[in-house]
């Protein structure tokens, strides 16, 4: 039987606010346990929540970025359950009336086509604390620094049909939240966490199969692997005559498998109701206008513009718009050197390779856009060959200084003086009569030998085009 995979994602992204969503406590990462947990975050008796304006502003920006309706009135609800990292015994979230309504994003599929993925909703909520299960001999330690950190939960439609689509969608959301500056998207620090609802059904069947929810995946690679495993597990189960159970599963990267969480999920009954400590959140046109006035160009628009204005390929345009910082870098290089295609090749080639190798981000690049543009100008004015330019780039990446200084210090200036090249060629022809004979007898391959000899004699600095042209003339005699 042919199976179709159906996936929906719930993404929790931490909003980049200074203080928590309902208290004036710092959200800085990495503090000593419970030193960033105020009376409100600890749920002490008599304390009350007051909503952080910035969290609302950031949610509105996201809504605008995915073309969603911003609810003029949304409501905070309590999700009631007991867990030691949930101090109040309920999580303040949004249930029936979320702040961001239906929107959509486009993802690029492997075959180059574009697919639209629906975003059902996005709502504001508070994060829980952290449970530490190691090192306390029979006890679990609770750190509530993270409790109350603002999250935007972004819920997709079940529009995704493969692990690859799920990853493309997740990356797209990740790209958007970073573009519009609402989250740092830092996955190691838990600022971007994904839950995947996965089900399978026979191709052609209209209704959905029973889904399992894979919780708390924090890397795109694990997301893909977890869904792949889960899809196989479900198909195998059904083909053996079994039934998928609606449950929560965890992905274990060390074993590359998902396993059922043995909590009594069926007994969960969250008893949502409007939080009586908070009033309806009303957002008017002026608030939306102020929150979105400085929204940057979004990835899709930027990609289209890069293709149209700079004549870039789909591949390059996609790659160079991966992040706002990268796109800005590329545009700066292109503007200074005036050769967008050359700039694109260098940014997506040498620069990205060097950054990846040294595990650095574009924002920490040791070579600035102006420096790279300076290098490209030396290629354009033929001071440097492509090969020499790579050497200079490496030196710049190691922090050896500016382009011209490196060229000078290493004597890397390209030899373009025809007379000097001719002198070298003459000497080589004189020293290799046998090879000259072979070439003249029609053995074209020997030409490469002569090029190599000239480049060797010039320590790689002779202009390759000139070498080719002069050699041809001289060898023909």
């Amino acid at each position: 039987m042919q199976w179709e995979t159906v996936i929906g994602l719930e993404i929790h992204t931490q909003l980049a606010t200074r203080s928590k969503i309902f208290s004036a406590t710092s959200t800085a990462f990495g503090a000593e346990p419970n030193t960033q947990a105020s009376a409100i975050d600890l749920g002490l008796p008599g304390v009350l929540p007051v909503l952080n304006e910035e969290a609302v502003r950031l949610a509105v920006r996201f809504g605008a970025a995915i073309g969603a309706e911003i609810a003029p009135r949304s409501v905070f609800a309590r999700k009631n359950y007991f867990y030691p990292d949930l101090p109040k015994g309920y999580q303040i979230s949004q249930y029936e009336l979320p702040v961001v309504g239906r929107g959509q994003v486009e993802i690029l599929l492997e075959d180059g086509s574009v697919k639209t993925i629906g975003v059902t909703r996005a709502h504001l909520e508070e994060d829980a604390g952290k449970s530490l299960h190691e090192d306390f001999q029979g006890y679990t330690g609770i750190d509530l620094n993270r409790a109350g950190t603002p999250l935007l939960e972004i819920v997709s439609e079940p529009d995704l049909r493969s692990p690859q689509e799920a990853v493309a969608y997740a990356k797209k959301i990740h790209q958007i939240v970073r573009y519009i500056g609402i989250s740092d998207g830092n996955m190691q620090e838990g600022s971007f966490r994904m839950d995947a609802n996965v089900s399978v059904r026979p191709v052609g069947q209209k209704t959905f199969g029973t889904r399992a929810e894979i919780k708390n995946v924090n890397s795109f690679r694990f997301l893909e692997k977890a869904i792949e495993f889960e899809v196989e597990r479900q198909i195998e189960l059904i083909e053996r005559g079994g039934q998928v159970v609606q449950e929560t599963r965890l992905y274990d990267p060390t074993k590359d498998e998902t396993r059922s969480m043995r909590t009594k999920e069926e007994a969960n009954d969250y008893r949502y109701f409007p939080d009586p400590d908070l009033l309806p959140l009303e957002i008017d046109a002026a608030f939306i206008e102020a929150a979105t006035a400085d929204l940057p160009e979004l990835p899709d628009a930027k990609r289209a513009r890069f293709r149209a204005d700079y004549g870039l390929s789909d591949y390059d345009a996609n790659l160079l718009t991966a992040s706002r910082e990268l796109a800005d870098y590329f545009e700066a290089v292109a503007r200074i050197c005036g050769e967008p295609k050359l700039a694109a090749n260098w940014v997506s080639g040498e620069l990205m390779a060097a950054l990846n190798k040294s595990e650095r981000d574009i924002s920490d690049s040791p070579v600035s856009a102006a420096q790279l543009a300076g290098l490209l100008e030396r290629i354009q004015d033929k001071t440097l060959s492509g090969k020499l330019a790579k050497q200079v780039f490496e030196a710049m990446f190691q922090g050896e200084g500016e382009v011209d200084a490196i060229i000078k210090a290493r004597g890397l200036k390209q030899i373009t003086d025809t007379g000097a090249i001719e002198t070298m060629i003459d000497a080589i022809i004189a020293a290799n009569p046998a090879q000259v004979e072979q070439y003249r007898a029609g053995k074209d391959k020997v030409f490469g030998f002569f090029v190599g000899q000239v480049m060797k004699a010039s320590a790689g600095k002779a202009n390759p085009a000139q070498v080719n042209e002069l050699l041809k003339r001289k060898l023909q005699g």
Binding site: L44, P45, G46, P87, G89, Y90, R271, F273, P276, L278
Partner: protein, 484 residues
């Protein structure tokens, strides 16, 4: 001293007729001598009170006194007080001392008030008789065999017995007004949002409101002047200007339109209480008011609605008491589940557990619409009744409670009978309106309360209407035997 009004005490303190230290010692001595009969205090803070009194005297000497400087008051033990334990009359918080003050506590302290201690109450304010306290029941100063009402029974008894000049209370379904009626004092529950809920331990967040229990409307106005006002720490705090409540106390009542809801005078109302209320209404006619019969057709449903809304909110509000960060924790928990279930079962008394269970039930899957949502809709209808009524009248009058104080233990085993005691007070909380209870002619030696309900943020009008009555009558001056 204990029979003087707050204005008189403040004047005496300013004129150095006696010091705040003397006044405070006087109250502490009375508490020491008399409170064993009542059990109205959970915690008496003699040391803190005397230190505050000395500071008050110092301020008086420097002519830097605030309106309440040196006046000894008490706080219901539901308001958090930094450095002084706050129990909510529960074993759960038997040893809990909040590291912060409630806004109400902070404001009264800033006005110079001296805190004598924390008063007894129904556990987590759940009760109408003050019998659910972990620290034992409070007795009614007028008859020790009877309840003082609840949940602010300790504050009511302490004020009636002259064990403080005035006290704070909270009112979720009648918890200020009903004990005020049972103990023969004046109580005001302001409009929802008028006083900050910050630091006031939540029972039902959409209904809870802090207020004052005093011997007169004038005394209540003195405290409310300081307590009321916007607080940025409470999202439900109203940004509505606070008038001077003392200023308008003497305003004339001619032309005042009083509404009498027919639903408040029907079956179930004790005939003696009814006669007393009717006599008070005649007094108002003497004072120049006009009387109009009105109807609040949905108000009989306020009890059923309340027993959905309040338990639902309480079941969630009390989930934080889990034995992890503060409060009671059971001995040797075998597992997390055991820690939760035993700490909570041991820490909460029977009535609290009952309401948590009901609240859990009405919010649970499959029942939400039938109970919670339905209750929210009827709540709307109840509020609409009042909105319509206030188009025609300025103040609504009726009994505070269907009967006078009942005997200790009489309703303890019948939760539903206990709940019906608040039948006249609950609708006000559901609508969020301000309400008062003032003492009128007693029945068989027991106090009777007249309830006054005003439109939103009309506390000044209510206090004025109460004060004019107290100016013309003497019921509010009566003191229970043995506590004069």
């Amino acid at each position: 001293m204990q029979n003087k009004s707050i204005a008189e005490l403040a004047a005496d303190l300013r004129l150095r007729r006696y010091s705040s230290l003397e006044l405070t010692r006087h109250y502490l001595e009375r508490i020491e001598r008399l409170d064993a009969r009542l059990n109205s205090y959970i915690t008496v803070d003699a040391e803190g009170a005397l230190a505050a009194a000395e500071r008050a005297d110092e301020a008086l000497r420097r002519d830097a006194a605030g309106p309440l400087t040196g006046i000894p008051i008490a706080h219901k033990d539901i308001f958090c007080t930094a450095g002084l334990r706050t129990t909510c009359a529960s074993r759960m918080l038997e040893n809990f001392t909040a590291p912060y003050d409630a806004t109400v506590v902070e404001r009264l302290a800033a006005a110079g008030a001296v805190v004598l201690g924390k008063t007894n109450m129904d556990e987590f304010a759940m009760g109408s008789s003050n019998e659910t306290s972990h620290f034992g029941p409070v007795r009614n100063p007028w008859d020790a065999a009877r309840v003082p009402g609840g949940s602010s029974g300790g504050s009511a008894a302490a004020v009636a017995a002259r064990l403080c000049a005035a006290a704070t209370g909270t009112d979720t379904g009648g918890s200020i007004r009903q004990p005020a009626a049972f103990c023969g004092i004046t109580g005001i529950k302001p409009t929802y949002g008028r006083c900050s809920r910050w630091g006031m331990i939540a029972f039902a967040s959409s209904l809870d409101q802090a207020g004052v229990m005093a011997r007169s409307a004038a005394d209540a106005a003195c405290l409310l002047d300081e307590m009321a006002g916007f607080d940025r720490r409470d999202s439900t705090s109203a940004e509505v200007p606070v008038p001077d409540y003392v200023d308008s106390l003497d305003d004339d009542l001619h032309g005042l339109r009083i509404g009498l809801p027919k639903e408040y005078f029907g079956e179930g109302l004790d005939p003696g209480v009814a006669r007393s209320v009717e006599a008070a209404i005649r007094e108002y006619e003497q004072l120049g008011a006009t009387i109009k019969d009105i109807s609040l057709p949905n108000s009989p449903l306020s009890v059923p609605v309340y027993y959905v809304v309040a338990p639902a909110e309480c079941s969630s509000n009390l989930a934080r008491f889990d034995g992890v960060r503060y409060g009671h924790r059971c001995e040797h928990p075998a597992s997390l589940e055991d820690l939760y279930t035993r700490s909570r079962a041991e820490g909460f008394g029977a009535e609290v557990r009952r309401r948590i269970m009901i609240g859990t039930y009405v919010l649970s899957a499959g029942y939400y619409d039938a109970y919670y949502l339905k209750a929210q809709k009827i709540r709307q209808l109840i509020a609409q009744d009042f909105r319509r009524a206030f188009e025609e009248v300025d103040v609504i009058l009726g009994p505070t409670s269907p009967t006078t104080a009942f005997a200790l233990g009489a309703k303890l085993d019948d939760p539903v009978a206990m709940y019906l005691n608040d039948i006249y007070t609950i609708a006000t909380n559901l609508a969020g309106l301000p309400g008062m209870s003032i003492p009128i002619e007693p029945v068989a030696g027991l106090p009777v309360g007249l309830q006054l309900i005003g439109n939103y943020f009309q506390e000044a009008r209510l206090l004025n209407v109460a004060h004019r009555f107290q100016h013309a009558t003497h019921w509010h001056q009566a003191a229970p035997a043995g506590f004069e």
